[in-house]
């Protein structure tokens, strides 16, 4: 596999190829009860394509997303991903390599925002952009250069906040006290600010109004046009029909 450009192309290998994925949980606090959630799950996603995960609640949609992000381990199978430095199996890579992929290649928008307390919303988003492209070790303590990089990243973050109609009065405040919908928009901005090769969306519009749902639809279209492979859980049918190319049924 040496085709790494971001275009959807019938001849190219898929951006993501899931095969034989299995995942269970052993609940030691409940007498070792065993919960098999995923069994022999398989599907492909091409660059520029959006796949919607379908299936009743409890069929493992969120579990699958977390296996793809690596916050859940996989019991069996492979998660072949065409990263910016070549093919990897997300189910079988060292933590350091997975962290590297998360900094640049894989973005995950969950339903809940998790951020260091007291960090302003703008910096929550700007930091992701700066982390994706770290300063060379030689000038890592050049305070002025660091301030310039953060300032440039904050400009990009402001653009996204404006598109998502987040009130400017909130931009410099830590998101802990924001409403659910406001936190969700900070989360979306953080997920989209760094162009990803694999974009994982877990109910990205759950607490948004119609206008902001449309903004998210636009953002997903733009990400696809830039070659992202998108895997999503969308309970909102309008959003799903607007962004998804096909459905993968679980369970």
């Amino acid at each position: 596999m040496n085709e790494h450009d971001g275009k959807a192309n019938d001849g190219a290998p898929p951006r993501l190829s899931v095969r034989g994925l299995a995942k269970h949980f052993t609940l030691h606090l409940r007498g070792g009860a065993r919960l098999q959630v995923l069994r022999d799950t398989a599907f492909d996603v091409r660059a520029g394509e959006c796949v919607a995960l379908a299936g009743a609640s409890g069929r493992g949609k969120s579990t699958l997303m977390k296996c793809l992000f690596g916050s859940y381990g996989s019991d069996a199978g492979s998660l072949r991903f065409d990263s910016s430095d070549g093919p990897v199996d997300i189910a079988n890579i060292p933590p350091q390599r997975l962290l590297q992929l998360r900094r640049r290649d894989i973005a995950y928008v969950s339903q809940f925002l998790r951020a260091v307390p007291r960090v302003p919303a703008l910096d929550v988003v700007a930091q992701r952009l700066v982390d994706a492209d770290p300063a060379p070790p030689s000038d890592d303590l050049d305070d002025d250069a660091h301030a310039r990089r953060m300032a440039a990243a904050r400009d990009v973050a402001r653009g996204l906040f404006a598109r998502l109609n987040l009130p400017p009065a909130l931009w410099d405040l830590p998101p802990a006290t924001f409403s659910g919908g406001e936190q969700q928009r900070v989360n979306i901005a953080r997920g989209f600010v760094q162009p990803a090769r694999l974009l994982l969306l877990d109910e990205p519009t759950a607490s948004l109004d119609a206008a902001n749902r449309r903004v998210v639809i636009e953002l997903v279209h733009e990400a696809k046009a830039q070659g992202a492979a998108v895997v999503g859980i969308f309970h909102d049918e309008e959003v799903r029909d607007a962004v998804a190319d096909r459905r993968v049924e679980l369970g």
Binding site: H28, L29, V116, P134
Partner: protein, 261 residues
């Protein structure tokens, strides 16, 4: 992927004063890589501080080795070094942030002198440069530079901890060991200190090993986490995987015992 910075192999320690055969640390084994923050979590008495002190060279372990790759790319057996060599390493390439800031600071000299001390130990004697560097570090850790001549005795707990961090980072260490650095602080002070440590660790590409009983601290600060119980590392991995998909019964118990992990 880069080469490890530190290798811990088969490390066990039994305190001479222990009444039974119980090991304070049992067969610990892991690598640390440049640029990562790693947390050791566990209840008090789990052996996490003993493990940290064995790595720092402050306790000679009963068994096992700690190997460190120095700035000249040589692998050093930390416990085979002379005391003097260990001291030099501790003042140059390593940092140690104490839980109690007064153990890591000199309270009878000014804040500026506390920051400048390690630089002077490396031969810097120029007063103007020492002072300028101390001021810059006070800014980086968000301390009021007008307080440069004050004794840390007059500082709050949070300010002392910031000063201790500046004092350690001024020589650009490659490995920093932190023992419960935020545990004595108010929650709001803790949050700002965590953000500061995270930002500096990323910018300086340093490796930090932090001992904490607080899973929230591990979640926000550390990319990887080791869980200790009765002296043993029972589980280790990516922090979010350890906390969201814990495998070991003890980790499941630990995660389910906190209000907001």
């Amino acid at each position: 992927m880069s080469e490890p910075l530190l290798r811990v192999r088969g490390l066990s320690h039994r305190f001479a004063s222990a009444r039974d055969e119980r090991l304070a640390v049992r067969d610990a084994e892991f690598d640390l890589f440049p640029g990562e923050v790693v947390a050791i979590v566990g209840e008090s008495g789990s052996g996490k501080s003993t493990l940290l002190n064995c790595i720092a060279g402050r306790i000679t372990p009963t068994h096992g080795q700690v190997h460190y790759r120095d700035a000249a790319d040589r692998w050093l057996d930390v416990h085979a070094l002379t005391e003097r060599q260990q001291r030099v390493l501790a003042r140059t390439e390593w940092g140690f942030v104490e839980q109690n800031a007064s153990d890591g600071l000199r309270l009878d000299v000014s804040a500026g002198a506390n920051i400048g001390e390690r630089l002077m130990g490396q031969g810097e004697r120029h007063y103007g440069r020492l002072r300028a560097t101390a001021q810059r570090w006070m800014e980086r850790v968000e301390l009021d530079t007008a307080r440069i001549d004050d004794s840390p005795r007059a500082f709050s707990g949070g300010m002392r901890q910031r000063l201790q961090i500046a004092r350690n980072l001024v020589t650009r260490p490659r490995l920093v060991l932190l023992d419960e650095p935020t545990s004595g602080l108010d929650v709001s002070v803790q949050a700002r200190l965590l953000d500061l440590m995270r930002t500096l660790a990323t910018r300086m590409h340093l490796c930090a090993l932090i001992v904490t009983h607080d899973l929230g601290v591990a979640r926000l600060l550390a990319q990887r986490t080791l869980v200790m119980r009765h002296g043993q590392v029972v589980e280790q991995g990516l922090t979010d995987r350890v906390l969201d998909d814990p495998q070991h019964p003890y980790t499941q118990l630990l995660v389910s015992s906190v209000v907001m992990p």
